[in-house]
């Protein structure tokens, strides 16, 4: 077996890798399209989940603008704050479940062994899954942006959208590196749903998805270690405070540095975990 696998793998060209990435992309998209109701669900429900925060604001403040919120974030519009948080976090949570948990899903479907035995490195398969997840999240966020624009009056002009997309790209490159490492972890410890939930906590509590972390010194301190914090603060400052993108160079540098660490670290961790599970012979275990 190994004699067949080794030459095949070494004989693979960039074009054949690209073909595998495309095949994985279309496979993942086809699986999603088998459940059309999911599209409606993910386009609408993340926005519904923030509605309690909007009503809470109305009850506690009595209007749609909070002076205290303005002091902390530069904008008193708490509704736009939580809606933007919901949109951007869609990318994060979809990456966490869709990429981080993707190899575990292959185990459920009974196709994990085929991936491991194929002449393609699993990392290439994961790149296909990552691209599919990116396309899916982008589509969902586009729906959400349309809903927010039509019903909540948040404006998306090209001058604002382009720098936001740059920041988003920088955020997600690093995050997908992290998610790939996490996918490697699923090869080792198999059932990671609990860990994914724990990571969800971390993001909800220590990054400004739903509240300004500056309100508490501990959350403020911890949040600086999370790329999502930097990206969200910068995106909101463009969208809500009309800050000029050129003033955000510091955020761009921080995100680039985090991307390098997460991508390189994620790659080596994945390769190490994959090799370890192959050697231990535990890939097929459930």
């Amino acid at each position: 077996m190994s004699a067949t696998v080794a030459p095949a793998r070494s004989g693979m060209t960039s074009a054949s890798y690209a073909h595998v990435v495309w095949a994985e992309f279309t496979k993942t998209v086809n699986i999603w399209l088998s459940y059309p109701i999911m599209i409606a669900f993910w386009a609408v429900f993340p926005l519904l989940w923030v509605m309690p925060y909007v009503f809470q604001g109305k009850a506690l403040v009595g209007s749609m603008s909070s002076p205290s919120f303005q002091q902390l974030t530069g904008s008193g519009n708490y509704m736009a704050f939580v809606l933007i948080g919901a949109m951007i976090s869609t990318f994060i949570f979809s990456g966490l479940w869709g990429v981080g948990n993707s190899l575990r899903e292959e185990t459920y479907w009974g196709t994990m062994e085929y991936i491991i035995a194929s002449p393609t490195p699993p990392l290439v398969i994961l790149i296909g899954k990552t691209l599919a997840e990116w396309a899916w999240s982008s589509l969902m966020v586009a729906f959400q942006a349309a809903i927010i624009g039509i019903f909540f009056g948040v404006q998306f002009t090209v001058a604002k959208v382009l720098p936001v997309m740059l920041l988003l790209g920088l955020l997600m490159v690093g995050f997908y590196g992290f998610a790939i490492a996490f996918a490697g972890l699923t090869l080792l410890i198999k059932e990671v749903q609990g860990y994914v939930h724990t990571l969800e906590w971390v993001f909800f509590l220590f990054s400004p998805i739903r509240y300004p972390v500056q309100v508490n010194p501990i959350t403020q301190l911890v949040s600086t270690l999370i790329p999502l914090t930097w990206a969200l603060v910068a995106i909101r400052s463009i969208m809500l405070v009309n800050q000029k993108p050129v003033n955000l160079w510091r955020t761009v540098i921080v995100l680039c540095a985090m991307d390098i660490v997460l991508l390189v670290g994620g790659y080596f961790l994945f390769v190490w975990l994959e090799r370890k599970t192959r050697r231990d012979g535990t890939v097929g275990m459930h």
């Binding site: 009850a59 724990t198 998805i209 300004p212």
Partner: protein, 294 residues
């Protein structure tokens, strides 16, 4: 071999009502114990499950503090007669756990048995199927109580939460009544799993809608009128408002007697509706032979 085992079961089921009730109670307890054993097999997950609600509550509290710039909200005081946002939100939030009982613990109970490969055995057992979901709800109520205790101890330690101790007993009474109504909703959710199999989308969808219309972190008055009307058909609305009334002095907009009466009516309606829906779907899946479909 089968004869000695089969004999004691049949007379118990067809025996006196008291014997039958004892038989059912035994099955409910057995289901509850089974769930605890399964849960405690994964201690790390169990511990995480206890911390979960605390961590999910904190963003609501910190968001409130950021909005107001302190702990007291003048607008909340004007709306419901209490200004302490931490106690107000925490007391409302604990009810999410009870909603989860109906939507997830009971709703997913049959799907979980399917995952374990034991659904057919459960359905072939000599007890009605609603007994099985009652066992699941018993386990979930006990589990939720434990989670709420952890939540309240943590938040009290962190924010020094104070409530009126005289209101504790009547609060437990309304919660008890509310749980009966939630059991009815849970029965409906459990039965949908028999048809749709992957019923998480229904639980998630309904849960999201209930989360918005239930006055967890805000009073009913801030909701649009149509949402207020929907909220009045949900038992947790009365549970939250009445408990906050007893413990915090929240103005409800109706009397305590009205609240108890309405929850009692909702309990009868939801349980009757839940049992009927469950029986109909149960019969349908048996006739169509789709019980074991995945």
């Amino acid at each position: 071999m089968a004869q000695p085992d089969a004999k004691p079961l049949c007379p118990t089921i067809t025996g006196s009502p008291i014997a039958r009730l004892r038989h059912y109670a035994h099955a409910v307890w057995a289901e509850n114990i089974k769930e605890w054993k399964l849960e405690l097999t994964y201690p790390a997950d169990f511990a995480r499950g206890l911390i979960d609600p605390v961590v999910y509550l904190l963003p609501y509290l910190l968001y409130g503090l950021a909005l107001v710039g302190g702990r007291q909200s003048a607008n909340l005081e004007k709306l419901v007669g209490t200004s302490d946002i931490v106690t107000f939100v925490t007391l409302g939030y604990v009810f999410i756990g009870f909603l989860n009982m109906a939507l997830w613990a009971m709703g997913f109970s049959l799907r979980k048995e399917q995952f374990y490969g034991t659904l057919e055995s459960v359905f072939a057992a000599p007890v009605p199927r609603w007994i099985f979901t009652m066992g699941m709800s018993m386990h979930s109520i006990l589990h939720q109580t434990l989670m709420i205790a952890v939540q309240i101890v943590f938040i009290t330690a962190l924010f020094n939460m104070t409530v009126n101790p005289v209101g504790l007993l009547p609060s437990l009474a309304i919660v008890g009544l509310m749980l009966v109504a939630l059991y009815g909703i849970g029965m409906i959710m459990a039965s949908t799993t028999l048809i749709f199999k992957q019923g998480w989308l229904i639980s998630e969808g309904l849960g999201s809608i209930l989360l918005v219309v239930t006055p967890i972190a805000y009073p009913l008055a801030v909701l649009p009128v149509f949402m207020q009307k929907v909220a009045l058909t949900v038992p947790t609305t009365y549970g939250i408002l009445t408990v906050r009334h007893f413990l915090l002095g929240e103005r409800m907009g109706f009397s305590v007697t009205t609240a108890f009466l309405r929850v009692a009516v909702l309990s009868v309606v939801w349980v009757a509706f839940g049992l009927i829906v469950f029986a109909l779907i149960d019969r349908y899946t048996r006739r169509s032979g789709t019980l074991s479909h995945y």
